[in-house]
Symmetry: C2
Subunit: 346 residues, 2 copies
């Protein structure tokens, strides 16, 4: 018998889905991108789905239910934007154990509703059930895109420029901060470290109430930039770069000194004695957009307020590498968050 953790999430999905052939002409893209793409005539329909499980993806000892509801929606909308689409609808399925009351679920829905209002999406369905233990949330987002607008992961070409929005590593630092606070509060760690959240609000917000980067999509359109490849940063920059390189059949060079990092993230990394670049490259849950553009768009992307240039696409034989400040080339390896590993580490 084979333990699932030996394959990891992507290995498992590859293994399970490799024998599924597409039958319908309406299925333009199946497994393997941020969204599936469906053609029923007219504009394309985009579909993406994410599962959030208590004890695996969230810890209600420090995550407020309203924030959880908001985040559960936003992480799905992020996948729609990552295809250059517009989210329109969501479905929300809940499994609810006996320890939750109606008031708890109303609080969760307040966050879901707020996200629907902020992003202009409609709640159109779902399923609600008791669960034996804990809370689980399964959200599916449905989006729309003009056929010519859709951006896949596999369109990056040699000499393209690589850009990323916002900054990286802050959500991961926020999680470390919350986790440390919990351990101190519960007396698990007999530690002189007493977390003080003052001045660290940004890190907590990035972890607890992330936003999907609709503004990046808007700015790209305003500047007339059409990315050649795009995806959102959920598992960490390293993991996503490897996805784009593999899907597009290319290599890349990312410049360490170009990786966007907020000063609060940097201060926190020092306080925790963590490697800052490792945290920024592998922390995950940033929900920023990673995209590539043709070299000829260099001037346009330089004007962007929401994103910055961090590297370039290369020929495949050069592989995906990080170029350090002292000009060393380090191969990029996936150290993204793996729910099956975390299960074993928990």
């Amino acid at each position: 018998m084979t333990e699932i953790s030996t394959l990891g999430e992507f290995g498992l999905i590859d293994h399970l889905t490799k024998n599924f052939a597409s039958r319908n002409a309406s299925t333009l893209r199946g497994v393997g991108d941020d969204c599936a793409v469906i053609d029923n005539g007219g504009n394309r329909t985009l579909i993406t789905t994410d599962l959030l499980l208590e004890g695996i993806h969230f810890d209600l000892r420090y995550v407020p239910l309203k924030h959880l509801g908001y985040k559960a929606v936003v992480v799905n909308l992020s996948d729609i934007y990552a295809m250059n689409g517009t989210p329109q609808q969501i479905t929300v399925s809940l499994g609810i154990s006996k320890r939750f009351t109606l008031e708890h679920i109303v609080e969760l829905y307040a966050g879901i509703r707020l996200a629907c209002e902020e992003y202009g999406v409609d709640l159109v369905g779902g399923d609600t059930s008791a669960s034996v233990t804990g809370l689980l949330i399964s959200v599916t987002a449905i989006g729309e895109a003009d056929p010519d607008d859709i951006v896949y992961r596999n369109g990056a070409r040699d000499t393209d420029l690589i850009c990323v929005s916002g900054d990286l590593g802050a959500a991961y630092m926020g999680l470390q901060l919350l986790e440390r606070e919990r351990q101190v509060a519960e007396g698990v760690k007999d530690d002189t470290f007493q977390p003080d959240f003052a001045g660290k609000e940004y890190l907590l917000e990035r972890q607890l109430k992330p936003e999907a980067r609709r503004d990046v999509i808007d700015e790209l359109r305003q500047l007339g930039i059409r990315p050649t490849a795009m995806m959102d940063v959920s598992d960490g920059l390293s993991s996503e770069l490897l996805h784009i390189c593999k899907a597009s059949g290319v290599g890349c060079r990312i410049y360490e000194d170009r990786i966007p990092i907020d000063y609060q993230t940097a201060i926190q990394a020092e306080e925790f004695n963590m490697n800052l670049v490792t945290a920024a490259m592998n922390g995950g849950e940033d929900y920023e957009l990673l995209f590539t553009v043709p070299l000829t768009d260099h001037e346009k992307v330089s004007q962007m307020k929401t994103a910055r240039l961090i590297g370039r696409i290369t020929k495949p034989e050069l592989g995906p590498c990080l170029v350090t400040r002292d000009n060393q080339e380090l191969p990029i390896r996936a150290q993204g968050w793996n729910a099956f590993d975390s299960m074993h580490n928990a």
Copy 2:
């Protein structure tokens, strides 16, 4: 604080979704039918989703994983057919606890794949994660329909005829049989009853490997019948009749002697000393299609091989009633399966 079981599943959904307004012109129908209906130009897109949780919806002590995978897909396809649509794609999300190996999940996927092949649908995405306890499956099905073909729950009109496909109550009897077998095997019940599955294959098949009634949709088209209202029977005939009556603002008369029941179901009800009509009306998990047609289609529906006439729609003030063999009128009450009650009874 309010216990969720006091509202029941439909009460909870009503309570949570009542303040969600629709914003997008593409959202033609949201919560409250078998599927959401989306208009991105071209044909309509139908979306439905179902959650299956271990310990609530299935018991792996007697449900083979391959059958479970098959059923998880089929129950969603049934909702697409219930809108008179054609299922095209599914997404499958899994939460998997440590006690499952790769071989288990491969078996589950064998059932998912078989359902995809049988019904011509494509697996286009999903999410896979560890879970703290047990197995959970969240399937979303995506279908397509010509705008003029879609059938909602709210179109039934006074004098319409009510029809149902196949037969009712068998899946419920199959579940009772399996549950009894398990208790005997585990010595929970010191019972002289020794289940013998010979001659009861139909009941087990209805519970373990239900089918979605594509053939009913095909026959309706061949005969040129367009139902005025339709839904699938998942929670039980009583519950579904109340949904149609409420959504359409009508009453109904169902004739006890017209309710289709297989002889194995009848024999089993006698063996278990259960009321047969109650089991057929409230057992659930039949995945048959319940639909109404104009009175003028009487001759056409009489020819149907896959469905039969069981009653008629009335004016709303007459309410929904069952007409017994001795011509009494009994008000129909929802006794459909409620996951939140079952949690409390478990």
